[in-house]
């Protein structure tokens, strides 16, 4: 099932209350906030109202905020080949 991936890239400060309300309804409270929404005409109409402020793409997977945060993390720089801790637990 496809989703709209919406990121607020321009602030709504100073725009009309209708547009600010649409941003609030979409869950876009701050810049660079990303939200996922179903693909349907109601959401499409809301996105058309604030199309000047957002970055938009479609995805198949809906990610939580934690998952998006983890995707941004750099690799740790090491690989655990064998854990002594796990071995020790196995013996005792």
């Amino acid at each position: 099932m496809p989703f709209f991936k919406v990121t607020l890239i321009r602030s709504g400060i100073g725009l009309t209350h209708k547009k600010l309300g649409v941003l609030k309804a979409l869950g876009l409270r701050k810049r660079m906030r990303t939200v996922f929404h179903d693909v349907n005409p109601a959401i499409a109409g809301q996105l058309m109202k604030v199309k000047e402020l957002i970055a938009l793409s479609t995805t198949d997977k809906k990610l939580s905020r934690r998952q998006m945060h983890e995707k941004r993390q750099p690799p740790p720089g090491f690989v655990v080949e064998k854990s002594r801790l796990v071995e020790g637990e196995g013996k005792s």
């Binding site: 725009l15 693909v39 109202k49 000047e52 402020l53």
Partner: protein, 110 residues
Amino acid sequence: MFGAFRPTSALFGGLLWKRPWRISRPQKYRQRQRLQRIDRIVDTIESALAKRGMTSQAVEVWKAEMPTESEMPPRDKYTIFDKKHKGYRKGIHKLPKWTRVSQRINPIGF
């Protein structure tokens, strides 16, 4: 140097327009990028709905009424209609919040 009577260009020259009457080349470039980005967003919404066999009135009205960036003449991209202005046109950067609002078409007859 400081205070109410400091020599500034506004005090020396009287009237000082801080917004130039025309927009610069990089501003025009960024304006085109913004227009193209909005076109892409509308296309994304339309194709996503079409894949599910849906349509949206907002998208259809926009597609019927608004030209895309490539269809717009430079006159419409960089200037807007103003009834008080000489030649009825002024730079689009005079439009409040011009980088965050859509302004593509002219009043009928202009």
